[in-house]
């Protein structure tokens, strides 16, 4: 069918119409609204993660500002949304990893209590199990050197944070 094959391809839009369309700016408002909603949702998730992670201090929740308060461009909103999404994913993963380690440490405390002699000198702090305060569980020999020689091991639970001293200076 040479007549079909040789037929010249026509542009989908007439050249004069294409030029006119290029002059009309696309309506960004719907895209901007969607991005703002997404930013709001991600900020909510980040706030929830922050509250769930308390009192753990090592997790990062920061997403840098954009020199605001000002009206951000579409590209800036997209960039902000992507950074927030990345930060939420990262924080969620870090929190998940952290809680897994804490669960292992809780199990370790139970094992230490059940069999102190198998966990000589092991120390677990309240920070290791994701709790506030200065409490710790420490496997130590009863009666010091004598306990070490006799194999009399026990778990000593500290009584908490030291009392505040007088202000220096």
């Amino acid at each position: 069918m040479p007549d079909v094959i040789d037929r010249p391809t026509l542009p989908l839009v007439a050249p004069e119409h294409a030029a006119a369309e290029a002059l009309v700016a696309p309506d960004e408002s719907a895209a901007r609204r969607t991005l703002r909603d997404q930013v709001a949702r991600l900020e909510t998730e980040l706030a929830q993660l922050f509250c769930s992670s308390w009192p753990r201090k090592e997790l990062s929740f920061g997403v840098p500002g954009r020199g605001g308060p000002r009206m951000l461009s579409l590209a800036e909103l997209e960039e902000l949304r992507d950074e927030l999404a990345g930060r939420v994913a990262l924080a969620r993963r870090a929190l998940s990893d952290r809680t897994w380690v804490e669960e292992q440490n809780r199990r370790l405390i139970e094992e230490m209590l059940l069999d102190p002699a198998s966990h000589k000198w092991r120390l677990v702090t309240s920070e290791d199990i994701g709790e506030p305060g200065c409490r710790h569980w420490h496997v130590r020999p009863r009666w010091s050197l004598l306990g070490m020689l006799m194999g009399w091991w026990r778990v000593v639970v500290s009584s908490g944070c030291p009392l505040a001293g007088p202000a220096s200076g």
């Binding site: 930013v39 709001a40 929740f61 500002g65 308060p69 951000l72």
Partner: protein
């Protein structure tokens, strides 16, 4: 019982389209700044006693503080670096072990912001030209004589010039001074903040100012 006339401010159409629920409500208060009376200091102390670390951590999930955090994000502010006014007060309380009394105006604003979560600023009514409103900054504009404003920064402005940066500092040309006789309290409203919270913030600030001035 005090009388306050709450007036809605204008919002630039472009800004209103971007943030449909953005608002500025103002109220005129005829009080001169002075030192805080002991009763106001007691009120501040009682307010500080209600803060705990856990409450401050949870604050970002409460409806009103959360709404301002979201707004801050949407306008390119990191609320963990440049704190929203209510979070800044809470953090200052934790750092200093109390809320420091400054003067009757700052103390009244602190109480209003801490109780409601709504940011309120006080402007010198005599130095304003026309009603205040919200708009993006114009190219080359400054806040006061020195502070240059970045492109399309969202400001509280009167007919002549920017008066304050939203969620930020107030121009020294518009702020309250010792010579102020009438001040305009302005409360910022954003999406998710009930109208009643904005009104309560202004009433609380106004009442504290009038009560403190009369003490």
């Amino acid at each position: 019982m005090i009388e306050l006339d709450l007036r809605p401010g204008w919002v630039d159409p472009e800004l209103a389209e971007e943030f449909p629920e953005l608002s500025l409500t103002s109220a005129l208060v005829e009080v001169r700044p002075r030192r805080s009376p002991p009763a106001l200091k007691d009120q501040l102390r009682a307010l500080a006693d209600r803060y705990t670390g856990a409450k401050v951590v949870q604050m970002r999930q409460d409806q009103v503080p959360w709404a301002y955090r979201v707004f801050a994000r949407q306008v390119g502010v990191d609320p963990d670096t440049d704190r929203t006014p209510v979070e800044a007060i809470a953090l200052a309380r934790l750092r200093h072990g109390g809320l420091r009394s400054e003067n009757i105006v700052d103390d009244a604003l602190t109480i209003a912001v801490a109780e409601t979560g709504v940011p309120v600023v006080a402007l010198d009514a005599a130095r304003l030209e026309g009603e205040p409103g919200l708009r993006p900054s114009l190219p080359g504009e400054r806040l006061g004589p020195l502070r240059p404003l970045s492109s399309r920064q969202i400001v509280i402005a009167d007919a002549a010039r920017p008066l304050a940066v939203v969620l930020g500092e107030v121009s020294e040309h518009a702020g309250v001074t010792a010579k102020t006789e009438r001040m305009l309290l302005c409360a910022l409203g954003v999406k998710g903040v009930p109208r009643i919270s904005i009104e309560e913030a202004l009433w609380l600030a106004g009442e504290t100012l009038y009560t403190g001035a009369g003490a």
